[in-house]
């Protein structure tokens, strides 16, 4: 019996009168790796930002790790503790060293002692293979290194699920692979992950399921092999032909 980490039922969201998400249904089970792709503006970011309520949905239910997400502040805080998020532009805290970036979450939220937070932080910086940068400030690191620190910062909270919103699309090509390697090794260790990405090779290699979104709807989903070799919808075929052309 597998455990549902994220359960999205009939979710719709509007920006003013513009409907960004239309009746989205999706479940993510423990240990599952999901890749979401789709054309720009199709609502991918909006969807995963609803999972930790950086955006509020207007209709339907979202249950994360057994906790229903709604207006109650307590629930939201509880969910955020258990959901790590990695952003396109890293969003590290520039006024803190790399080590502090990783320590503050556990210290200020879980009340972990400084010594212990430090130990955890170093352990996860080791995990993303940049322990030697611990005492630098974020600006002194390359983009790829910054993104790996951002991953370590999320991991320090020991989340039940990690959300990635185009983690490699702000990076130079030679830095993309170091971040993808880190993500791949996370996946191998059984982390539950939801990644918005256009790195199709990564999707093929690690995803359990690929989800294609268009105009706020989930149009098609399937195992990567089926999805890439035998797409059903015209829109998916068009998207794949464009993205795989190069």
């Amino acid at each position: 019996m597998s455990e549902k980490i994220i359960d999205v039922r009939n979710v719709s969201k509007w920006y003013g009168s513009f409907r960004v998400l239309t009746d989205v249904n999706l479940t993510v089970e423990k240990g599952e790796r999901i890749v979401i792709c789709g054309p720009s503006g199709s609502g991918k970011s909006t969807l995963i930002r609803c999972f930790n309520r950086l955006e509020a949905h207007q209709e339907g239910d979202i249950v994360v790790n057994g906790i229903p997400l709604h207006d109650k502040m307590r629930n939201v805080a509880e969910v955020r503790k258990n959901v790590g998020m990695v952003f396109q532009h890293f969003n590290l805290f520039p006024h803190m060293t790399v080590l502090m970036n990783c320590m503050v979450g556990p210290m200020w939220i879980k009340g972990v002692s400084q010594a212990e937070a430090r130990k955890t932080a170093l352990q996860f910086l080791e995990r993303v293979r940049i322990p030697e940068q611990a005492d630098k400030f974020p600006v002194q690191l390359s983009g790829g290194q910054q993104q790996r620190v951002a991953i370590a910062r999320s991991l320090c909270m020991q989340p039940a699920v990690m959300l990635f919103d185009e983690p490699t699309s702000a990076l130079d090509p030679e830095m993309v692979s170091e971040v993808l390697d880190t993500m791949t090794s996370l996946a191998r260790d059984g982390m539950t992950m939801v990644c918005v990405t256009h790195e199709m090779a990564f999707a093929r290699a690690v995803a359990d399921r690929v989800i294609f979104m268009n105009a706020g709807q989930i149009v098609e989903q399937g195992k990567p092999d089926d999805f890439f070799s035998n797409p059903q919808h015209e829109r998916t075929k068009l998207f794949l032909s464009q993205i795989l052309k190069h």
């Binding site: 503790k81 952003f87 969003n91 805290f93 979450g105 939220i109």
Partner: protein, 324 residues
């Protein structure tokens, strides 16, 4: 620092055309004045003879010497390192300034005699009134900024009314309003607390805008990262946003503090014995206005310089994370 482009490497003051223009300008300027009656004319006596009879030749010679000395000075300073340049120029300007004051024929013993009282009573009051006020003003400013950025209608309305009112009225009027107006409502208030209240409210309004723009200058992504880790509003504000906004907030806040230091002289109208008040009363007694006013001016300036130094230290502290 401005962006130092490496293409333009030659020092400006070592370019012949620049030195030429500078020389011509100074020369023309001093040719317009007749300085032969002053100390300069006296010093030039060996060259121009009796200064007062030297006529156009005397003027010409004096202007030439001044322009030549000036250019030589500038060119020489151009060779020094940045720090030395800054120090020398500061000292020279200070010297000129003192020479200007010397022309007032001030009574130094009188100044020396009154100085201790001016410092212990006047300056002390000025500094503690300003210091307390800036602390209260900063607290008001943080609250005001948060209120002005919030989506709460009440908070926004109150904060914007407050900033509009206190930025819109002359400070002098606010001092009177608080000192004379509050007792009408039944709160009798002493001069010093009234002064502090007026300064805090007035500067709190200006600083609300400074803090608001500082907070707004921080990227949305910082909020999102902080909130997505699970930090609440308070921690996000105190530990993530404000520390990053401080480098933006500190220079204008330092400005406000220095300005408040001098505006605190306005509370003398309600009888607070601060620096300006004492300077005026002490000077009036013995008709030595200039002595006391200049002493007070110097004291204000010295304290302002101290504040500038403190401010640059703090700025350097916050620049750490920006160094690549």
């Amino acid at each position: 620092m401005l962006y130092p482009d490496t293409v333009e490497s030659e020092v400006l003051v070592h370019k012949p055309w620049f030195v030429g223009v500078m020389f011509a300008a100074i020369f023309a300027l001093f040719l317009a004045f007749d300085l032969s009656g002053t100390l300069l004319g006296e010093l030039m006596r060996p060259v121009i003879g009796e200064p007062l009879e030297s006529g156009i030749y005397g003027r010409f010679a004096i202007a030439f010497v001044i322009a030549a000395l000036f250019c030589l000075n500038v060119v020489l300073i151009g060779f020094a390192s940045l720090r030395v340049q800054i120090t020398i120029v500061w000292l020279e300007l200070l010297l000129l300034f003192l020479a200007f004051f010397k022309t007032f024929n001030l009574s130094l013993p009188f100044m020396a005699e009154k100085l201790p009282f001016l410092v212990t009573q006047g300056l002390f009051t000025t500094i503690y009134v300003s210091a307390i006020s800036i602390v209260i003003a900063s607290a008001i400013a943080i609250l005001g900024a948060v209120a002005k950025l919030s989506t709460n209608g009440f908070a926004y309305a109150i904060a914007s009314f407050y900033t509009s009112f206190f930025r819109g009225l002359p400070l002098l009027m606010q001092v009177y309003l608080i000192y004379l107006g509050l007792p009408q409502l039944g709160f009798v208030i002493d001069a010093v607390p009234a002064g502090i209240l007026a300064l805090s409210l007035c500067y709190g309004a200006y600083m609300t805008e400074i803090f608001r723009s500082g907070i707004q200058s921080i990227d949305r992504g910082q909020w999102e990262a902080s909130r997505s880790i699970g930090f609440g509003f308070g921690i996000t504000m105190r530990k993530i946003i404000l520390p990053q906004a401080l480098p933006v907030i500190i220079p204008p806040t330092g400005n406000q503090f220095i300005s408040m230091l001098k505006d605190s002289s306005l509370v003398s109208v309600i009888g607070v014995w601060e620096l300006m008040f004492l300077a005026r009363t002490l000077g009036q007694k013995s008709f030595q206005h200039m002595e006391m006013l200049i002493s007070a001016a110097m004291l204000y300036w010295v304290v302002s310089i101290c504040l500038e130094l403190i401010q640059s230290r703090i700025e350097r502290h916050y620049a750490r994370s920006k160094i690549r």
